[in-house]
């Protein structure tokens, strides 16, 4: 009786571990592939582990073939700049939607959401003309400017702000607290976990964009990591070992960013719970 009870208690944990294994398996499988040789990939039956983890040829190849460090820097600048601006714009817009009423309030909210419903490819040529007309080709700003609008982030922040009591805002305003002070010292600290998760999502999305940065830059020194992967891909994309190595090389910084921010998230989660 007692044993089965304990088993029952452990069941959710077991399920979690199993699910985690399933979710992580593709990433793990990919990482293993980065250590394989072309022959290992083409032999049958397929293997999970590489013959030797000391085979770092694929990684060496990635750095030999592309100026990856320069690409890291570019991607870092682009992802940070566009995510930061995007978060600010989203916070302000969400604040407006939650704490102010203005004519067309609801309409504008839906209008902002519609920016998520348009495939970027349809907008690409017109945007190229705009950005090129502004003289922003070959600049970081030109690479970022089209992604300043983050409706998804704005939407989630609106959901978050909605849960904060209206009275708080009213009281703060009556006390002579300005809008900016209210946002930065009252509203945002309670929303920290969500804020960080959203920033992370935006950062990663920007880190992984490909076509737009390729279109608006003409110089090798302005290229981003995703272009680096393409430079290592054959037309039929069957050189898996190299592509996987390149993938992990480009993923590594995002994982580091994630792990750093995750600490902040879990810290924020506990403090957030205290406040509410």
């Amino acid at each position: 009786m007692k044993n089965s009870n304990r088993l029952l208690r452990l069941l959710p944990d077991l399920v979690l571990v199993l699910m985690a294994a399933v979710v992580l398996f593709p990433v793990f499988y990919g990482l293993m592939g980065a250590f394989k040789t072309p022959q290992e990939f083409s032999s049958y039956p397929p293997t999970l582990f590489p013959e030797s983890f000391r085979n770092l040829d694929n990684f060496r190849y990635v750095f030999d073939m592309t100026p990856m460090l320069r690409y890291y820097l570019n991607s870092l600048i682009v992802a940070t700049l566009s995510s930061t601006v995007r978060m600010f714009l989203a916070v302000f817009a969400a604040y407006a939607f939650v704490f102010y009423r203005f004519p067309g309030h609801r309409f504008f909210f839906l209008l902002m959401l519609t920016t998520m419903m348009l495939p970027p490819d349809v907008l690409v040529i017109a945007n190229y003309q705009t950005v090129s007309g502004m003289g922003l080709l070959d600049t970081y700003l030109g690479m970022c400017i089209v992604s300043f609008v983050g409706a998804s982030q704005m939407f989630m922040l609106r959901q978050q702000f909605m849960t904060s009591p209206v009275a708080l805002h009213d009281a703060a305003m009556l006390d002579g607290c300005g809008d900016f002070r209210f946002i930065f010292s009252v509203l945002l600290p309670t929303a920290r976990p969500v804020l960080i998760t959203l920033f992370l999502q935006s950062f990663l999305a920007q880190w992984n964009t490909y076509l737009w940065p390729l279109l608006v830059t003409n110089r090798n020194s302005m290229r981003t990591v995703q272009v680096g992967i393409t430079m290592l891909t054959t037309i039929d994309a069957t050189n898996y070992e190299v592509i996987l190595a390149a993938t992990f090389v480009t993923m590594l910084p995002t994982m580091v960013v994630y792990l750093i921010l995750r600490k902040a998230v879990s810290h924020a989660m506990s403090s957030g719970a205290l406040i509410s």
């Binding site: 072309p38 022959q39 990939f41 083409s42 032999s43 049958y44 073939m65 690409v124 040529i125 190229y128 003309q129 090129s132 007309g133 080709l137 076509l211 390729l214 279109l215 003409n218 110089r219 090798n220 290229r223 272009v227 393409t230 430079m231 290592l232 891909t233 054959t234 037309i235 039929d236 069957t238 050189n239 190299v242």
Partner: protein, 433 residues
């Protein structure tokens, strides 16, 4: 300190007067991996040799895959800011239309008028002809390839079989034992016709796929292989091949071929290097001509690949660009490029070089593509259609439907004529020539 600065300034002044500013050129290319590195190496070599002599400096910039580079080209053209165009660009077939209609295009014909001393007779004739459109020579062939049949020679030898040269012959491989792999089974042949492969089979039957000589003399507006029965003949053969059980309806995969789970595959001749590397010692790689539809069909397959084109950025730059392009298609570069990548040498003199002959004597697989190109009748042209991706998948979908949804070849031919023809009509309406 001040004196040092002053001296430095004088030194700089002297230098800049002494050495004339070189003409700076930009090259947009789509070569990845080793080919990409070779591209950089060629540019470096050019800058240090002929470029230094003539005061030309080239910068090579990777612009993504061919299709992405063309998207970029179209964006620049429609923005009207033509100073964002490169001097030299590597284009594949999908970029022909965009280049041909660009006002800044500097086609080879004009370059030849201005440089009568240039001689193109060493270039591989079928490859050169592939970059002609509406009678205008757009660019010079750089990376040249054709489509060939790869097969697992060891598997055929083990059963004492030779690889068939026709689709009918492939169908007769049913029941030969090739499909047995120990206790399991393996695929003998997997293929799903698309624009270039279908055009090859139709070309062998003496027909173009689309009108205006497969779109080389103007914008194609309709299928040409329907009324003359060539399409129907091919579809019938293809259906019979499928019904024999030898053919797997799918694009097949290089992985399955390399793993020995698929015995024949149609692919670009430029894959020979990576195939040899991947297969290693596991079996002997066989390469042979593109299969013919039937015994009465002609032999051959068209040229694919990419060319180098020039945009006119003023006299000094276009002259420098012409110097660079002719150097890139010269025998030395082409021999090195072919050896390093598996592409065919686009220059006849390159195929006489020791680099090439040594390679071929060690790996005879390299030579098949070149022989095939030279034997292919010059009436066969590769296809240029506006809606290229749509057209490509359209063909595949109709052939798949015929095999898996039990359409008769007649119905499939009719459906293709309407569907694919419709795409071409749409395009012609938007882009009248």
């Amino acid at each position: 300190m001040k004196r040092v600065l002053l001296m430095l300034a004088i030194l700089l002044l002297v230098c800049s007067v002494g050495v004339a500013e070189p003409v700076k050129l930009t090259l947009w290319h789509s070569m990845t991996q080793e080919a990409g590195q070779l591209m950089d190496a060629f540019v470096k070599e050019f800058n240090e040799t002929l470029g230094r002599e003539q005061g030309i400096e080239v910068e090579a910039v990777f612009q993504g895959k061919y299709s992405e580079a063309v998207t970029k080209l179209n964006s620049v053209l429609s923005s009207g800011q033509t100073d964002n165009l490169p001097d030299v660009m590597q284009l594949d077939a999908t970029g022909k239309v965009s280049f041909a209609s660009a006002e800044m295009a500097y086609p080879v014909d004009r370059a030849l008028q201005e440089h009568p001393e240039s001689d193109l007779s060493d270039l591989l004739a079928p490859a050169l002809a592939n970059w002609k459109m509406g009678g205008v020579q757009l660019g010079l062939p750089f990376a040249t390839s054709t489509t060939v049949l790869y097969y697992n020679k060891s598997a055929f030898d083990a059963l004492g079989l030779t690889v068939p040269g026709t689709l009918e012959g492939i169908a007769s491989l049913a029941g030969s034992g090739l499909e047995k792999d120990g206790d399991g089974s393996r695929t003998v042949f997997a293929c799903l016709p698309n624009t270039p492969t279908l055009a090859n089979w139709l070309g062998q039957l003496g027909s173009n796929l689309v009108n205006r000589t497969n779109g080389t003399e103007g914008t194609a507006s309709a299928l040409e292989c329907v009324d003359n029965g060539a399409l129907l003949e091919f579809l019938k053969t293809w259906k019979a091949l499928y019904e024999s059980g030898v053919l797997e309806n799918g694009e097949g995969s290089l992985d399955a071929f390399v793993a020995g789970k698929q015995l024949m595959m149609i692919s670009s001749s430029s894959n020979v290097t990576s195939l040899l590397e991947k297969i290693g010692d596991s079996f002997e790689l066989g390469v042979t001509f593109y299969p013919r539809v039937s015994e009465k069909a002609a032999e051959g397959a068209t040229v694919n690949g990419s060319c180098l084109v020039i945009f006119d950025q003023g006299e000094a730059r276009r002259n420098a660009a012409w110097t660079f392009v002719t150097w890139m298609t010269g025998p030395d570069v082409q021999a090195t490029f072919a050896r390093g990548t598996g592409y065919l040498p686009s220059n006849v003199k390159a195929s006489d070089s020791s680099a090439w002959t040594e390679l071929v004597s060690q790996y005879p697989q390299y030579e098949v593509g070149l022989r095939q190109v030279l034997q292919t009748p010059d009436t066969m042209h590769s296809v240029t259609v506006g809606p290229s991706i749509d057209f490509y998948y359209g063909i595949q979908n109709w052939v798949s439907d015929m095999l898996e949804q039990d359409l008769t070849p007649e119905e499939a031919a009719q459906g293709m004529a309407e569907d694919l023809g419709g795409m071409l009509e749409q395009y012609v309406r938007a882009n009248p020539s």
